[in-house]
């Protein structure tokens, strides 16, 4: 089949990295991502289903790979060549529509789950992600879309384990369903911020960045941490409008987030650091600058939830040390501890949230696989071009 595929090619990664600084389209054209004919992947075993891609989103982590920015951390957690694409709504051979929970967890790999009923992302030992499955048919890979054995969403079809599939209602449009995975990420980050604001009077949660993930975090906060006053720093006018529409209490230009948080917290601005600040900050950008900003607007002993994938950053952590700030990574989803003490699967919450907020409003444009250069360029410049989520549309390929 014809699919987009990334191969391990140091030269292409290097060229993409250089080109991306100038023009995302060039990075997509000369980088490691190529549309080619590939062999159909073998079925990895019992419990695996063929999923025919309907829509597959382009995520920031996909872009970092395409543009050659991904950290070497993942070297042992991916297997080349792979077909990217982990934000997927598709259909099974029998026509049942599903969204993909992309983590290739214990069950998919034939290992014992960390606890009964665990979600793919649960557990505190990631060994299974870096080794082949027990039957030897699933190579390392943290998720579908980073594993050479399963295929990925940027292809007409791929394999997904039963544990990864969430069947969706007929009345849920594809355009909404394709946002479930990023919403799950945002909800997970929101729920990681929740313990810091639990029991606090007038809690403040700041969200830095209002691209797909920042907006997803806002949605998660408004839905599951409703007591929090959510202040968002957004860069572009359409992001400000969307964050406001989703229910953020205050949306300001990102450069003014510090003063907005200061006003809400009623604290001082000492130099450029708040004396107190937000109880928790969700960094939905993941750069040196955004982490630095998040640390300086979060109150002592507060929590910074790092949702944007950072790769290599340069930080002065004196403030983190002095303020005893907690820096918390927020990679993905699984089983959530809810503020009321119950547990829930993030994806169930995300489906609910996608319906509640009519998440299709975040899908800005779709492209055919053949238009991947334009699609990548659009996704890489989404904010500047007034867009949020860009996706591939493979409906009609089946």
């Amino acid at each position: 089949m014809r699919a987009l595929q990334i191969r391990r090619n140091a030269g292409k990664f290097g060229m993409a990295r250089i080109a991306s600084a100038v023009a995302p389209a060039t990075a997509a054209r000369i980088g490691p991502l190529e549309l080619r004919s590939i062999d159909d992947p073998d079925r990895p075993g019992e419990g695996w289903h063929r999923v025919h891609t309907r829509l597959a989103g382009i995520c920031g982590s996909d872009l970092s790979l395409v543009e050659g920015h991904a950290s070497t951390y993942f070297d042992d957690y991916v297997s080349f060549p792979f077909v990217p694409g982990h934000e997927v709504v598709g259909e099974l051979d029998d026509g049942t529509r599903v969204v993909l929970e992309p983590v290739l967890g214990h069950e998919a790999r034939g290992f014992a789950a960390p606890f009964p009923g665990a979600a793919p992302g649960d557990g505190d030992d990631y060994a299974h992600l870096a080794m082949a499955s027990t039957n030897g048919k699933v190579e390392p890979g943290i998720q579908t879309g980073f594993c050479c054995s399963t295929g990925g969403g940027w292809a007409p079809w791929f394999w997904a384990h039963e544990s990864q599939l969430h069947r969706i209602a007929d009345d849920m449009p594809d355009e909404r369903a394709v946002l479930v995975e990023p919403l799950a990420g945002g909800i997970h980050a929101a729920l990681l911020a929740a313990p810091t604001v639990s029991g606090v009077t007038d809690p403040i949660v700041a969200v830095l960045g209002a691209g797909t993930m920042g907006l997803a975090a806002v949605a998660g906060l408004k839905r599951y941490v409703p007591a929090a006053r959510v202040i968002v720093g957004a860069r572009y006018p359409h992001q400000i409008a969307l964050a406001t529409a989703i229910g953020a209490d205050l949306v300001v230009p990102a450069s003014k987030l510090d003063r907005a948080v200061r006003r809400e917290a009623g604290c001082h601005l000492v130099g450029d650091i708040l004396s107190s600040g937000a109880h928790a900050t969700i960094d939905a950008v993941g750069t040196s600058a955004s982490i630095t900003d998040s640390l300086r607007i979060t109150r002592p002993r507060g929590r910074v939830v790092l949702m944007g994938m950072p790769a290599e950053v340069k930080l002065d952590l004196t403030g983190l040390w002095h303020r005893e700030t907690e820096l918390k990574g927020a990679y993905t989803y699984g089983t959530e501890s809810m503020p009321d003490g119950s547990t829930a699967r993030t994806f169930d919450l995300a489906v609910d949230t996608a319906n509640h907020f009519e998440a299709e409003r975040l899908l800005s444009a779709t492209y055919r696989l053949e238009e991947h250069v334009e699609a990548i360029a659009h996704a890489a410049a989404a904010g500047r071009r007034g867009a949020v989520k860009i996706a591939f549309d493979l409906r009609g390929h089946r």
Binding site: V252, A260, R262, G266, C267, H268
Partner: protein, 528 residues
């Protein structure tokens, strides 16, 4: 003999008229046969011997005993003085306040008074920098008093150093600086640049608390202050005078020294600013062109520095001392003698050039809120009887209105612009919804008390200052301002004066009458 102010009817032969545009100028051709320019009087002659007049005023005061008779060896003497908001631009050394205070100190020394405090009456303004205090007071006074903690600045947020003197029959509470309240004698050293200043306002605002100021620094009072330059038609001044009566009846003895200055504000090479355009010589025109071109190429920051470094060659035109209300009546006579220009009738449009400075940005940036304050607060209020523009008419200002703020001087202004003006430009709404939060913000309070920041509530007061003009005008247009910033103020941006007049035609028709308030210098239109 200086020529009085007058009204020039614009005809086809009238040259383009000078407009301030912040740290720059423009020449604008006003429509012939329906425009008029209100020119200020030329600067009045100054007193020959200012020190002699000061000494004479102290020895021969109005409705009070001579100052030496009030000075006793064991007394508490406090000398308050106007802060850096006066004069604008700052006057050449020696500053009149220095002259007054040196004369008072000489008499106090002769009387054996040694408990003397000097207090900058800054109200909710920013604390003065040391170099500003030195400029105002001179090095001798500064070095003698400041190191010993006897020269300091009023702190309206120091609960331990505020005292309630009493309450007016309107329920207004007079709460002032404790040292002032407990003094046996308070001498106030004033510079009266406009009719709004002086009188009871000096002490009842200059050393008052936020609580005390809020009784008259509010939208309703300012909307009924018509105008700031006419205290008998100003609700603000009526409130202040009521508080002054409480001070007179229950407070310390006040010995007021008021002085007036002429309008000679700009030394060479900027003296062409004060001339009438048709009298510009070839040298003036060359200076204008050269200055304007240079300023156009100069970064804002540098241009600002150049203008704020100006030291004006003002001359003192009168000195009077004694009982506050009596002194102030004499002062007003002198102020009006310099400023009043008879003007007949109102027009559909009022135009004004907004300069680089206002009372609230000495040494600082004329931020957008201050542009509003200067235009609709100060310049619009330069009238007696009725405004130069008819109700529902259009006010056109020229100013770059850049979105820049001095973070040291105006920290709460930044938030006011971002938060309050994004919500409302209605002074009544903002006072009810936002003022308390800003007034009680601990960070602003800290910066006001220990740094050089205006009080947190000050941007509200600056906005309220324009409340009457805002309510009166049917539309406000700013020519040459940053469009999004101008819109945030609730005004309409225009690129050129012609565009502004076209935009104004929606409100005032195709052939509106126009008054231009010529700045500089300073004038009060006596509109009949």
């Amino acid at each position: 003999m200086p020529r009085p102010g007058f009204v020039l009817e614009v005809d086809r032969s009238t040259p383009p008229i000078l407009f301030w545009r912040g740290e720059g100028f423009s020449l604008e051709k006003l429509p012939a046969d329906r425009s008029r320019v209100i020119y200020p009087a030329e600067p009045l002659a100054g007193l020959d011997d200012v020190d002699g007049h000061i000494r004479n005023a102290l020895l021969n005061p109005v409705d009070m005993e001579p100052l030496p008779a009030l000075l006793k060896p064991d007394m508490k003497l406090t000398i308050c003085f106007d802060d850096a908001s006066l004069s604008l631009p700052k006057m050449r050394r020696p500053d009149t306040r220095q002259r007054i205070i040196e004369a008072v100190l000489d008499l106090a020394a002769a009387a054996g008074v040694d408990d003397i405090h000097l207090i900058a009456a800054l109200g909710l303004h920013r604390r003065m920098h040391e170099y500003e205090l030195r400029h105002v007071l001179g090095d001798r006074i500064f070095d003698a008093f400041h190191p010993r903690g006897m020269l300091y600045q009023h702190d309206a947020e120091d609960p331990d150093n505020l005292t309630v003197i009493g309450e007016t029959d309107h329920g207004e509470v007079l709460e002032i600086n404790k040292r002032v309240a407990e003094s046996d004698l308070v001498v106030y050293a004033n510079i009266n640049q406009v009719a709004m200043d002086g009188g009871w306002k000096s002490i009842t605002t200059g050393v008052a608390s936020y609580r005390c100021l809020s009784f008259h620094h509010n939208p309703v009072t300012l909307q009924n202050t018509r105008s700031l330059m006419d205290r008998h038609k100003s609700d603000l001044h009526k409130s202040v005078w009521r508080l002054g009566k409480v001070l007179q009846d229950h407070g310390p003895k006040i010995f007021t020294v008021e002085t007036t200055i002429n309008t000679d504000a700009f030394p060479s090479p900027f003296d062409f600013l004060s001339k009438r355009e048709w009298e510009w010589s070839a040298k003036d025109r060359a200076l204008y062109l050269g200055t304007q071109k240079s300023l156009n190429r100069t970064p804002n920051r540098l241009a600002r520095k150049i203008f704020h470094s100006i030291e004006s060659p003002y001359a003192t035109t009168s000195v009077q001392a004694g009982f506050t209300p009596s002194v102030h009546e004499l002062t007003l006579e002198h102020v009006y003698a310099q400023h009043l220009v008879p003007v007949e009738g109102q027009t559909d449009i009022l135009t004004m050039g907004i300069p680089f400075i206002s009372p609230y940005n000495p040494e600082g940036i004329m931020n957008p809120i201050l542009v509003m304050c200067m235009g609709l607060g100060y310049l619009f209020n330069m009238y007696r009887n009725k405004p130069l523009v008819r109700e529902g008419g259009v006010v056109i200002m020229t100013h770059p209105t850049y979105r820049e703020f001095n973070p040291v001087h105006h920290p709460s202004y930044i938030d006011f612009f971002d938060e309050v003006l994004a919500d409302t430009t209605d002074p009544v709404v903002m006072s009810e919804k936002w003022e308390k939060k800003y007034a009680e913000d601990e960070w602003y309070r800290h910066l006001y008390r220990t740094g050089n920041a205006y009080h947190g509530v000050h941007p509200f007061y600056a906005w309220y200052w324009g409340a009457h003009g805002q309510q009166w005008a049917g539309k406000v247009i700013i020519v040459g301002g940053d469009p999004s910033t101008v819109r945030r103020l609730g005004f309409t941006p225009a690129s050129t004066m012609d565009d502004a007049l076209e935009i104004a035609s929606d409100v005032v028709g195709r052939s509106p009458t126009i008054s231009h308030l010529h700045v500089p210098g300073v004038l009060v239109a006596d509109v009949t």
